[in-house]
């Protein structure tokens, strides 16, 4: 990563970049902080991935071979918490840090010191969360959804879980405020809102979702804390509370959270497909409106996660219709991407391959999502492996694939070196094939009746679990190749020019690769050749 900074920059009216550990600890530079976010999420990806390997190893065959059921529950819980809050979200914020200023022609983020703080909270928060493994009662094992009363049965780790969630909330809200403040106030002259690259647009909307939903989660977990230690009874039936109320509050946060994870991915794909189709994005305005519509609707569908708690008929119908309606703006996005490809002049470098896989596989996740939204059918699907298959299609082949596409897409810009295209494509094919071997059979398992979050299962589920586990191991191993491609690119990749991709448009591609430590200290001119609409 030191190569990122190895480049001598042109604007020497400012200081030279600091060196050594202090550069990273006290960094206020959006590129360095972006790099730290990305590296952090890559590390956490392997921590969370290792837990997934434990899960798949235990599920390889029936019977308990490796771990105690309670440790297994800790694995599923921690895997989810780490992958959501430690991988997808920080990676998204990292990309935002790196790309938003250079996409809108700003010299840096609006609040550089807060930027530093919001990053450094993360390692501490996750150290605290991981420390619970060594406490009495073990790591959180009641599911990442933290439903009471089960979650309050957790031992010493309980307050640590709650405070970790608080810290993660503070970090991501600070990140969100920073992003909004930057985009609202620091755009280069001539860069109107409707000239913003779509990645920036999706991030503004995501940032608003964060500000609206993370505090609600913070409130919900605070109530859990006071219920356990201070005698309140928000969720304790004996005291007149209602455990189901937690689910309502949690999912009021939880559903927007799903879009917090996926909207930046929509943005990334909307940058990549036009680049490699060599054709402007189809329906820019409708993309923006569709994204906003999805975000807005996401606040009215939360109860579809809890159809089985026993709701009045009217409630079930309302949440079913609202959920189905999200398919409309999501469909618009898919069709826009198709129309962008249509009559383009496509090439298929690694970022494009990942983006295309995203469109197809995310759509599959969308179809199963639509099925899950149909209340009567959900009475069967709910809490089975069908749900597991659904959200992994959306989050792994959706959000994660988009992040990988983004990495390949912008890596030459960040490092000034091209990655190895052959290795990149090998990584793509290995990942895409293994991820489907991993998750597709889980649809069958769920429909055939296998509940989720179980360490052991009846023998008729053996075959598909074996296949799924093999796919899982292959997918896990394939990601080592990803790390190798990155390291190889940083160390010995061919020099990249500023344009990098033939079809690339936008301010970030007018900067040298890698961009100087301080870029756009003088606002650039924005004209039709770089603006997006």
């Amino acid at each position: 990563m030191s190569d990122v900074a190895a480049h001598e920059h042109h604007h020497d009216d400012h200081d030279h970049k600091p060196t050594g550990l202090g550069r990273w600890l006290f960094s206020t530079n959006h590129k360095d902080i972006g790099t730290m976010y990305l590296v952090f999420s890559l590390i956490m990806f392997f921590v969370g991935g290792a837990m997934a390997m434990v899960i798949r190893a235990e599920l390889f065959q029936p019977g308990l071979q490796f771990v105690d059921p309670q440790f297994f529950n800790a694995m599923t819980t921690m895997h989810a918490l780490i992958m959501i809050f430690g991988v997808i979200m920080p990676a998204g914020v990292g990309l935002a840090n790196w790309m938003i200023p250079i996409m809108i022609g700003a010299p840096d983020m609006a609040l550089p010191r807060m930027n530093n703080m919001s990053f450094w909270i993360l390692p501490f928060a996750f150290a605290m969360l991981l420390a619970t493994f060594f406490m009495e009662g073990g790591a959180p094992n009641g599911g990442w959804t933290m439903y009471p009363p089960l979650v309050t049965q957790l031992g010493e780790g309980f307050p640590y879980l709650i405070f970790t969630v608080h810290f993660l909330g503070v970090s991501s809200i600070m990140g969100a405020i920073n992003i909004i403040a930057t985009v609202f106030n620091m755009r280069a002259p001539g860069m109107g809102f409707m000239q913003l690259p779509l990645f920036v647009w999706t991030w503004i909307i995501t940032a608003f979702l964060l500000i609206a939903s993370m505090p609600v989660l913070a409130g919900a977990v605070t109530m859990l804390l006071t219920d356990k230690y201070f005698g309140t009874s928000f969720f304790v039936a004996a005291g007149g509370g209602d455990p189901v109320m937690f689910q309502h509050i949690f999912w009021f946060f939880g559903h927007p959270e799903v879009y917090i994870l996926i909207l930046p991915a929509f943005g990334i794909v909307s940058q990549i497909i036009p680049t490699f189709a060599r054709k402007p994005l189809f329906g820019y305005e409708s993309m923006v409106y569709a994204t906003a519509a999805i975000a807005f609707l996401s606040f009215f569908v939360w109860a579809h996660h809890m159809f089985t708690v026993g709701m009045p008929l009217a409630g079930e119908l309302f949440f079913m219709y609202a959920t189905m309606s999200i398919a409309v703006p999501t469909g618009v996005k898919i069709f826009n991407w198709l129309a962008t490809m249509w009559r383009g002049s496509m090439t298929f470098e690694t970022p494009m391959l990942f983006a295309l896989a995203f469109v197809i596989l995310f759509s599959i996740g969308g179809f199963s999502g639509l099925m899950l939204g149909i209340t009567p059918a959900d009475f069967q699907y709910h809490d089975t492996y069908f749900v597991v298959a659904h959200f992994h299609y959306v989050l792994v082949t959706g959000a994660l694939f988009a992040l990988m596409a983004a990495t390949y897409f912008w890596l030459p810009k960040w490092t000034g070196h091209m990655y190895d295209e052959t290795l990149g494509q090998a990584h793509f094919w290995l990942s895409t094939i293994s991820v489907n071997v991993l998750f597709f059979p889980q649809h069958f398992l769920g429909l055939a009746g296998m509940p989720r979050r179980i360490p052991d299962y009846a023998v008729q589920f053996t075959e598909w679990n074996m296949i799924s586990s093999l796919g899982g191991f292959a997918f896990g191993l394939s990601q080592l190749l990803f790390v190798w491609v990155i390291i190889k690119c940083v160390r010995e990749g061919k020099k990249a020019d500023e344009q990098v991709w033939e079809g690339a448009r936008g301010l970030e591609w007018t900067l040298p690769s890698p961009p100087p430590f301080h870029s756009f200290t003088v606002p650039p001119k924005v004209d039709a050749s770089v603006a997006h609409s």
């Binding site: 609040l111 909004i180 106030n185 505090p215 409130g219 928000f234 509050i249 009217a314």
Partner: protein, 180 residues
């Protein structure tokens, strides 16, 4: 210039954050309102003055009386498991509790009505679930519930369940949970 604008944006966003945190807590009373409207955990109270004299003689509604105890050394039973009532008529169901332990226990009954939507059509005039109950060792007590099923109850609810769950809410329980 840009700095002042940034500060303004940040202040607004921070305010929004604080408001949303408050909103999380505001969901608690909002949820109660939702429950009152839909009938979940419904505990509608009426007084004798509210009892009308309009009785639907044409209908009989089955009411299942369900009892549960949680972590409390009491027996808790309904005198009969089922009763049939006419909408609009004041009906009574009798429950008995007995403290089978050697200590004085304070219990509290949480009501629940099923199907949820029917909750808004049931009103209670007297219920042991309005207050905490204290039973001495070995003491037993008959506790009536007097309730009215609304005449507006839709036809599709031909059967209702009134369910009560007694929890131990006594001092020693609370102390053991919070050893401070």
């Amino acid at each position: 210039m840009a700095n002042r604008n940034v500060n303004k944006t940040v202040r607004r966003l921070l305010l929004a954050t604080v408001l949303m945190f408050g909103f999380g807590y505001a969901l608690v009373p909002l949820y109660r309102v939702y429950c009152d409207l839909t009938g979940r955990g419904s505990n509608r109270v009426i007084t004798a003055a509210d009892v009308g004299n309009e009785v639907d003689r044409a209908r009989l509604v089955t009411v299942v009386l369900d009892t549960n105890t949680r972590d409390i050394p009491w027996t808790f039973e309904a005198e009969s498991h089922k009763t049939r009532v006419r909408p609009g008529e004041l009906s009574e169901a009798v429950f008995t509790v007995e403290n089978r332990s050697a200590r004085t226990v304070t219990g509290r009954a949480i009501p629940s009505i099923s199907p949820v939507q029917a909750g808004i059509y049931v009103s209670k005039m007297d219920c042991f679930c309005f207050t905490e109950q204290v039973l001495a060792p070995g003491e037993s007590k008959a506790m009536p519930v007097r309730f009215i099923v609304d005449t507006d109850l839709p036809e599709r609810f031909s059967s209702l369940t009134l369910s009560y769950t007694f929890f131990d809410v006594g001092e020693n329980k609370a102390l053991a949970a919070n050893p401070s």
